[in-house]
């Protein structure tokens, strides 16, 4: 009887729970729904929603301004009261700092004045930031280097013609005793007569331009990582990554929070620049999401420019300043290493075009498992040239949606079969061979190879017997090794290398196995498609020999890694050659091996200098001359936008796109390859810098110089010698690395591991 009573109770509780769950669920989702709508109105939505029949027109178009002056830095750009544009910055050609004017909305610039001699770069100090006011005056931060004290920042006021006077203002801790407060991290004009000066600890001083007297100081609680300070009319606006704070600078009081601005921030991402056209009634804000407009007290934050359709959303795009010329024209200076500008400082102009459709009418769907930065960069450039195209690029594993590769591929399969699949795929991590065999991928052989001269050996990695080219790597990585002569002789083979005991000692076991899998795996496939067990045993035995005994203290190091049940990020990043530089240079490991995706000549020489007869070369393996295909492109043969996809692929293999380098691999186009490895960005500056590792005592002398011609030649020849594509089959790799790790740790014998690998892989190959 009692039993029944408590069961009844349980049922009652359940009903209550359901009702409660229903109500909260309901209201919760509603709230979110309305919240989304209110906060940001997207750029694509037409203003007249009633006329759904008409196509919405009007969009901002981007144009990169090619200036005669190679700006090495831009501190600020301001539209002056008389309508001219003024810019203060650094001319990289002659190394001077000064001001320039433009009367044609930024198209051409004329020098107005050089900064006074005392604040030009010299042994006494350097200028690293500045701001302009609407009346043409400028303020600069000159970091004076004082013997024994260190750096002491000074503010200089420059009048309209460049005449400079120091402002009598010092940071509280300036002068050394309070180390925390010694740098100025930001300066803005507030009106024409006041300044906002931000210190290293994000403390903001509101001072007078004339005498440097402090009117107000603002402090924020220290939880947020960064506070971006902007002015709009008499308002000071502060952004952190989560909050938008607005202050009245007359009173120094914080104004009531702007909910919409706050929500807009949450959706658009951190705003990097801000400007106002109407004395702070409304503001224009720039983030990776695009350009947004917000009227104070309003309920909508309007997206004027969608960052996905131009450079704004590109990964290497860091805006420096935003200058609104009027409501339909704006200028953005940005640090964009992938722009056409040789210094990486780009000046972009956006103009509203009323007769361009608000949303491009063609959509090209691109898909990859792992996020590809070169892809994002290329998309942003491609769209600039093809304003009628929107490339919708999605990478399955980048979001934290708990997907594993297998689930993602299943979803991809269903979509392709339903005719809703992507038009373009980056095949890295996918079963490329199976896709080719099943006819999922379109033959690309007619598209590739026209736009330049390519490393044919790499381009044709996936050519099948009929000469079809259904998958083409746009980039590649090279398994490389660097070591002193005691552990490596250039050109030696796998036997010779692994013959030295302890060559691989003290390295983490799993990555070691995975790296060598790339240089050995291709040797295991027998002609009938099965794996050669003898080769696998040989592989494991030799690796174990070179590895020696496992040092269990390595375990402790691994514990520091966040608790992760499943590795969902692309493993290949962890296998990078650049990972082991410092370990090798400071003797923690005997060799450095890994997949090289970017030639860091300065680092290689620096490390070599610390080694005894150090040298680098191709990583030895059971197969010689291996490369790892990367950014393998394919077109879905069932896609809807095949022509567009072909055009995009063509673009990806053009020099313009190939020259983009975000360490996703070397370009397959020879000219672009050269430009990526020659270190041209260092030309003219012969700088020696120190780079430090995780341990503060460890520094290397790193020389920022162009790569010498003979090194370029050596490296290019190395690439031309590559013949065999590594197998990028994740199923086999997983099995090998899991078992191989146990072998290196000494838990099982190579023979046992081989059996386990064969068991798993045989099922896979039999399917």
């Amino acid at each position: 009887m009692k039993h029944k009573v408590w069961k009844r109770t349980a049922a009652m509780i359940l009903i209550l729970l359901l009702v409660w769950g229903g109500l909260t669920g309901c209201s919760g989702s509603n709230q979110e729904g309305t919240g989304n709508e209110a906060a940001v109105k997207s750029a694509e939505e037409p203003n007249t929603e009633g006329n759904s029949g008409e196509r919405a027109m009007g969009r901002f178009l981007e144009e990169e301004i090619e200036t005669d002056i190679a700006f090495g830095n831009i501190f600020d750009i301001k539209k002056l009261s008389d309508g001219t544009l003024r810019l203060i910055g650094f001319n990289a050609d002659d190394g001077t700092r000064g001001a320039w004017d433009s009367k044609d909305q930024g198209a051409s610039w004329e020098k107005v004045y050089d900064f006074p001699e005392e604040i030009q770069d010299s042994d006494q100090g350097y200028t690293d930031r500045g701001a302009l006011s609407a009346d043409g005056r400028a303020v600069c931060v000159f970091n004076q280097i004082e013997e024994g004290v260190g750096i002491k920042p000074k503010l200089y006021l420059l009048d309209q013609n460049g005449g400079g006077t120091p402002i009598a203002f010092e940071l509280a801790g300036s002068g050394g005793e309070n180390a925390q407060e010694k740098m100025i991290m930001g300066v803005n004009f507030l009106g024409n007569d006041q300044l906002l000066v931000k210190s290293e600890t994000d403390k903001v001083y509101q001072i007078s331009v004339e005498d440097g007297s402090v009117k107000h100081t603002y402090e924020f609680d220290g939880t947020a990582d960064t506070h971006q300070v902007y002015t709009a009319g008499k308002k000071m606006i502060v952004f952190t990554s989560t909050e938008a704070l607005v202050y009245d600078t007359e009173t120094g009081e914080q104004l009531s929070p702007e909910e919409t601005l706050q929500q807009g921030l949450a959706e658009a991402g951190l705003f990097h620049s801000l400007d106002s056209l109407d004395e702070g009634e409304s503001v224009y804000c720039l983030s990776g999401g695009g350009l947004y407009h917000y009227k104070f007290g309003g309920s909508v934050m309007e997206q004027l420019i969608d960052g996905k359709m131009n450079s704004m959303g590109a990964p290497a795009f860091y805006p420096i300043t935003l200058t609104m010329l009027d409501e339909e024209n704006l200028l953005v200076a940005a640090n964009d290493s992938n722009s056409n500008s040789p210094t990486g400082i780009a000046l972009l102009k956006y103009t509203y075009s009323a007769d361009t459709p608000a949303k491009p009418d063609k959509e090209l769907k691109a898909y990859s498992l792992y996020d590809n930065r070169e892809m994002r960069q290329s998309i942003s450039r491609f769209q600039k040239e093809h304003t009628d195209v929107y490339v919708n690029y999605q990478s399955a594993m980048s979001e934290e949606n708990g997907m594993n590769v297998s689930d993602a591929l299943k979803t991809l399969t269903t979509e392709i079969m339903a005719g809703k699949g992507p038009d373009l795929m980056i095949l890295d991590g996918m079963p490329v061979e199976a896709y080719m065999e099943k006819g999922i991928l379109k033959d690309l052989s007619s598209l590739i190879g026209e736009e330049g001269s390519y490393f044919e050996n790499i381009l044709h990695a996936y050519q099948d017997e009929q000469g079809q080219l259904c998958a083409v790597p746009a980039r590649f990585m090279i398994p490389m090794i660097q070591a002193g002569s005691a552990f490596y002789t250039p050109g030696e083979d796998f036997d010779a290398f692994t013959g030295r005991k302890d060559a691989l000692a003290k390295m983490e076991p799993k990555p070691v196995v995975e790296k060598f899998w790339y240089t050995c795996g291709a040797a295991w496939k027998k002609s009938d498609g099965t794996l050669d067990a003898a080769k696998i045993t040989e592989f494991l035995t030799k690796l174990k020999n070179a590895y020696g005994d496992y040092d269990s203290s390595l375990d402790e190091a691994e514990t520091g890694v966040a608790m992760a049940m499943d590795g969902n990020t692309e493993e290949i990043g962890k296998l990078s050659f650049g990972y082991g530089d410092f370990d090798l240079a400071f003797g923690r490991t005997n060799v450095n091996i890994g997949l090289c995706a970017k030639l860091d000549y300065g680092m290689m020489t620096a490390v070599n200098k610390r080694l005894e007869q150090g040298d680098y070369g191709l990583m030895p393996g059971q197969v010689e001359h291996v490369f790892v295909p990367a950014m393998i492109m394919g077109i879905n043969s069932k896609g809807n936008q095949t022509e567009l996809a072909e055009a995009f692929i063509k673009y990806l293999f053009s020099q313009d796109s190939q020259k983009i380098s975000q360490s996703g691999g070397f370009p397959v186009e020879k000219e672009a390859f050269r430009s990526v490895i020659d270190g041209h960005q260092y030309a003219g500056q012969d700088n020696l810098v120190c780079v430090g590792g995780t341990d503060l005592d460890e520094t290397l002398d790193y020389e920022m110089t162009p790569t010498p011609e003979e090194e370029i030649k050596k490296f290019t020849e190395l690439v031309e010698s590559l013949t065999t594509p590594a197998i990028r089959d994740d199923v086999i790799k997983e099995a090998v690395s899991e078992q191989g790790e146990k072998v290196l740790k000494g838990e099982i014998s190579p023979q046992e591991a081989t059996d386990a690998i064969m068991q798993k892989v045989n099922i896979y190959l039999a399917e």
Binding site: S406, K410, M417, G439, Q759, K760, E767
Partner: protein, 293 residues
Amino acid sequence: MRKPFQRRSARHTETAGKHKSFRGFLWIVPSFLGVLVFYLLPYADVVRRSFLGAVDNHFAGIENYRAVLENTAFLLAVKNTLRFTVFCIPLLILIALLCAVVLYRSKYGGIIKSAFLMPMALPAVSVALMWRLLFHSQGMVNGWLINLNLQGSDWMNSGSAFWILVGSYIWKNLGYDIVLWMAGLAGISENIYEAARVDGAGEWQCFWKITLPNLKTSFYTITVLSFLNSFKVFREAYLVAGDYPHESIYMMQHLFNNWFRNFSFDKMAAAAVLESLVLLALILLFQRTLDKE
């Protein structure tokens, strides 16, 4: 307390017993339409695909069936699935019957039974998490064994994976089957037992002569439901061991999954048709044998 119905013409009396007409079908129409759209139509598509090439849809005849039957992965999956079914279902049904008989009419039976039911309500993902922590090579089970000075093993990567799966299945479904058996027991009239006891039948005799024969229809339902649930164990196996588990627990669904991912719809469809034929044969055989007895 039924409502008195209005008397109508006596036409119905002609069809005494079951009501024979298409009218019965009307009851099924809504369900059947849904089944047609959401199950039969897709199934017909699968049958069609089993005779076509994977992606290009050329006619392949029975080529796919031949390929499937020669495929060693398929044979392995069939073998494992059969092995699992043959081990698990009788084992589960017997254990459940045993528990049901003991718990039936016992004072604490209800509570114990409820405890056995809990695992069924656990989400598959939580179960997978547990399994991982328990049977990992550095998991809890090995920890306990080390404490007892016994040698542990890498459970999920050896033949024992199969038994873990068997255990998992029984653990999850035992409560469910106990409930079914107990309900079956409850349906046997007490009078029959009393009559038998009067005739001098012992406990065992009662069990063999009365209990078991009366549980025959229960047995049918329980078997079908247990069979149905045996497919669900794949979820845990997949969540713990992924696409390519140890060969002893490589099931049909693993194979389907992997074929699916690699666009091998030709083989997949053929295997699916074969599987449904086997199911059909099994059900018919099972019904036939039960009816005969």
